[in-house]
Amino acid sequence: MTTRRRIAALTLATALLAGLGACAAEPGGSPAADTKPVAGGTLRVGENADEPTLLDPHQLSTTNTTTLLRPIFDTLVWQNTDGSFAGGLADSWDVSPDGLEYTFHLREGVTFHDGSPWNAAGLKANFEHIIDPATKSPLAASYIAPYRSSEVVDEYTLKVTLATPYSAFLNVLAQTYLSIVSPKQIVEAPETIAEHPIGSGPYKFHKWVKGESISLVRNEDYAWAPKEAKNQGAPYLDGITFTFVPEDAVRYNGLLADDFDIIEWTPPQNVAQIEKKEGFSFTSTDRPGHPFSLWLNSERAPFDDVAVRQAFVASIDRKDIVDTVSFGQWEVSNGYITPVTPDYAENASAIDFDPDRANELLDEAGWTGRDSQGYRTKNGERLTAFLPHTGTVAQTTQIIELAQAAAKKVGFDVQIQLVSTQEATDRAAVGDYDLTSGIWTTNTADVLWIRYSSDNITTPERRGQNGSYTRDDELDGLLDSARQTTDEAERASLYEQAQERLVELAPAVPLYVRPDLVSHSDRVGGVTFESAYGALWFQDTWLAAE
C-alpha cells in the first residue's frame, strides 16, 4: 500500500469512526413491512457481551437471559401486552379465597424437545428444581419464596400451596427465569441443563460456541404458542444465532454491514442515525419494574432526615440528566415503578425538580451554614454524601456526575468514590454508603416490597435488597397487604397508596426507564416483544428472502 493510499484509507476510517462516513450497506432485498411472512432463513442477532454463564433458566439472573432462553422454553403463565395474564403451559388456574392455594389446569398435548410429555408431575419437578439449594438459583427461587409444596391432583392438575399469600405469584411465573424445563431432564440429568437445555418452546437449543455465540433451530412440532402470538404454529425461521459482541461500535456497524439482521443494545448515540437510514428500522420497548435510581441510605446522616432526602430528590433535574445521557432515547421516570409495570399508579404525585423547595427544606432542617466552597454546613459539619461507584458503565458514571453537579447547586457535597466491584458489594452489605445506584427489572409492583420493605433490610444472616434502609410502618403495611390480597382492585389501590407514600419518603431519585433498544434490517418482519420482562420474542419473526 503506498503512502497516499494509506492516507486515503486512514481518512476514510477516521470518518467512519467519527460516525460521519456513509457506511454504505446496500439494503438487502425488499422491505418486510407490508409483505406476508415467509418461512426459512436463520436470523442473526447481535447481543452485548453479557453471555450467559450457563443455560439453566433457574440459575440465571441477567437481562440477556430473557431474550436468549424465551425461544427454547415456555412459561406456565403468559403476560399479555396489557399486563393481564393468559395461559402458557397452564390453560387456567383457580386461586383459593385465602390466596394460599393455586390449582393449575395444564395444557394437554405439549411435548418437550426430548419427546417427554408435559403433565402435573412435570410442573412439580420444575418447582422443586427451582427451590433446591443445589440448583443455586440467584433469582427464581427468591421470586417464589412463599412456595411450600404441591400435590398432583390428576395428570393435568397440580395444586400448589403457599406458606403466605403472594399476589405476585402469577406475575413471576410469566418470567423467563421461571421457564419450564423438560421434567425428564430435571429428573434424569439435571447437570446437563446448563450445557444443553431442553424445553418445549418454538426453538430447540442447537449449539453454544462459548465466548462467541448460541444457536437455535426451529421446533417443527410447536403448536402451543400463547394466544397473543399471531403465529400459532411452528416458527417461521429455520433458526436463530445470537452473537455476543462486546463493542458497541462493532455491533452497530455489524448490522449496517449485514453481519447481523437485528441487534439489541443499540448504542443510544446511534439511534437517530439508524432511524433515518434506508433499509433499516428502529423499535424499542420499556421494561417493567423499578427504574434506574440513586438510592439514599436513610440509616445514617445526612439522609436519616426525611427533609434532607426530599431536598436531594428535588435538587436534581432528572429529565435533563436522562436526556443528556441517552441522547433523548430513555424516558425519564416519574415514579418508583415504571409505567409498563402492572399496578403502576398514573396519578401518584409528581416528583418535581424544584431547587427553591430544596433550599427551603435544607434551611428548615438546620443546614443553614455555608463553608468556603459554598457547601452547606450544620454545627460545623459539611453536608456530605458518599457515593461508592465502580465506573464500569460509562452512562452511569455520567449520570452520577451530573447529579453531583446538580446537588452542589443547593449545597450538597456528593463525593464519588471509585471502588472495585468487590468493595462496592462489601460496602453495600454493611450499608457503608450514603448513595448507591441500580435498577430492578421485574413484572410486578412487588418490586417495591423487595426494595423498600423493612423485611428486606440486610441482617448478619441474610443479605436483603432494601438498600435505602427504608423502615416505614405505613409503607410496610401497604406492601404486605398488597402481597396478601387476592382482589385485583384492592391490590391496585394498595400499590397506588404505596407509590404515593414513597414520594413522601423520598428513598430514591428515580431516573430512567431502561428500554430495550432494537435496530434491524427491513428484511426482518414481525419484530415483537414479550411483556414479562420487555425482551425480543421470536414467535412471529420472519426473514424476507434476499
Binding site: A13, A49, S61, K136, E195, G211, Q465
Partner: protein, 334 residues
C-alpha cells in the same frame, strides 16, 4: 545443553508456577468480598441464605484457610485447576474449550509477523532513503498503534466500507484475516526494525564482501548469509513476541467477537472469577517457560559456535560479539 540442565530448567519452571499459584491464592484471600456472592452474584441476583450456604459448602469456603490452600495445591498437582465461579464448570474444561481459537489466532499471527518482518527487513536493509525511510515510518506507525484502534481501522475499511471480510466470529478462514493482521502488524513492525538493523550490521562485514566477490547475487547474499547471522537477535525477541500475542488476544478477541482465552480472561477478571484468572495465569507462565527453553535449545542450531556453551553464556557471547567476527562455518557452507 544436556539433560541435567534441561531438568534444572524444568524444575525452575515448576517453581515459577508454584509461586504464581501461591501469589494468586493469596491475592484472592486479600481481595475483599465474599466469593459466594461472586458465584451466585451479579447486581440482578437475589440469592436466598440457603443458596449461599450451599455454595460455601460446595466450594469449601467454610474450611480454614490453610486447609483450602493445601487442597488447592493438591488439586493443582494433579492438573485440577478448580471450578470456575462464573461458569460453574471445571477450569480445565473452560480453558480446553477456549484454547483452540487462541492457538489458531496467535499461530497465524506469529507466522504472519515472522514472514512480514523477514520479507520487509531483507528487502529494505541498506536501501535508498525512500524505501528504507518509508519502511521505517510505516513500522513506527504500526508499532505505536494501539491494537484496539488498529482493529477498528481494519474493520472500518475491509468490513464496513469494502465488505470484503466479515467483522465477527471465527466461522471460516476469512474471519481470521483481520484479527490475525491486527495482532501481527505491531509485532511484525518491531521485529522487522530489529532484524533490519542487525542485518545491516552483518551486511557490512568482510565475509559479505567476500561472498559478493565470489559472484553471489545480492538476493543470495542477503538471504543465505545476512539473514542467518541476524537470526540470533531475533530469537532473543521471542519473549516479546509471546507476550505481545498473549496480551493482544485479550483485546483482539473481544473486538472481533471471537472465542478464545483472551476474551475469557477479560470476562473472568470483570466477574472476579479467580479460578479462571489463575488458570490463564498459570497457562501463560507455562507457555513462557517452555518457549524460553525451546529458544535456549535453538541457539546452538542457529549458531554452531554456541554448541559447547550454556544458553546464558550464549546470550552474553552473542551480545558481546554480535556481528564482529566472521565465521569459518559460514565460509564453508557457502
Amino acid at each position: 545443553m544436556d539433560v541435567a540442565k534441561i531438568g534444572v530448567r524444568l524444575a525452575a519452571g515448576v517453581g515459577v508456577a508454584w509461586g504464581a499459584a501461591t501469589l494468586t491464592f493469596l491475592a484472592v484471600q486479600i481481595t475483599p468480598g465474599d466469593p459466594a456472592y461472586a458465584i451466585v452474584g451479579g447486581p440482578e441476583a437475589n440469592p436466598s441464605p440457603e443458596v449461599i450456604a450451599q455454595v460455601r459448602a460446595e466450594y469449601g469456603f467454610d474450611q480454614p484457610l490453610l486447609v483450602q490452600y493445601v487442597r488447592y495445591l493438591g488439586r493443582l498437582a494433579v492438573g485440577d485447576l478448580g471450578t470456575s465461579y462464573r461458569l460453574q464448570s471445571p477450569v480445565t474444561q473452560v480453558l480446553g474449550e477456549q484454547i483452540g481459537g487462541t492457538v489458531q489466532l496467535a499461530g497465524v499471527a506469529a507466522l504472519l509477523a515472522a514472514v512480514l518482518a523477514v520479507v520487509v527487513a531483507v528487502f529494505t536493509a541498506r536501501r535508498g532513503p525512500v524505501v528504507r525511510g518509508g519502511a521505517t515510518s510505516i513500522e513506527l506507525f504500526l508499532a505505536s498503534s494501539p491494537s484496539f484502534w488498529l482493529g477498528i481501522l481494519l474493520l472500518s475499511v475491509f468490513s464496513y466500507a469494502l465488505h470484503w471480510l466479515p467483522s465477527v466470529g471465527n466461522a471460516d478462514g476469512r474471519a481470521l484475516v483481520l484479527p490475525a493482521l491486527t495482532l501481527a502488524l505491531p509485532i511484525a513492525a518491531v521485529l522487522s526494525q530489529v532484524l533490519r538493523s542487525s542485518l545491516e550490521e552483518v551486511l557490512e562485514q568482510p565475509f559479505i564482501t567476500t561472498a559478493r566477490a565470489r559472484g553471489l547475487s545480492d538476493a543470495a547474499v542477503r538471504v543465505r548469509h545476512g539473514l542467518r547471522h541476524s537470526l540470533i537477535p531475533l530469537a532473543t525477541m521471542t519473549g516479546f513476541v509471546v507476550g505481545g500475542l498473549l496480551g493482544g488476544t485479550v483485546i483482539v478477541e473481544s473486538l472481533f467477537t471471537r472465542q478464545g482465552l483472551g476474551r475469557t480472561l477479560l470476562a473472568a477478571v470483570n466477574a472476579k472469577d479467580m479460578p479462571v484468572v489463575l488458570g490463564v495465569v498459570l497457562l501463560s507462565a507455562v507457555v513462557y517457560v517452555v518457549v524460553n527453553l525451546v529458544v535456549d535449545l535453538l541457539y546452538p542450531v542457529l549458531d554452531p559456535r554456541l554448541k559447547t556453551v550454556t544458553a546464558t553464556e550464549a546470550r552474553e557471547t552473542v551480545t558481546a560479539n554480535e556481528g564482529t567476527e566472521t565465521t569459518e562455518t559460514e565460509e564453508v557452507s557457502a
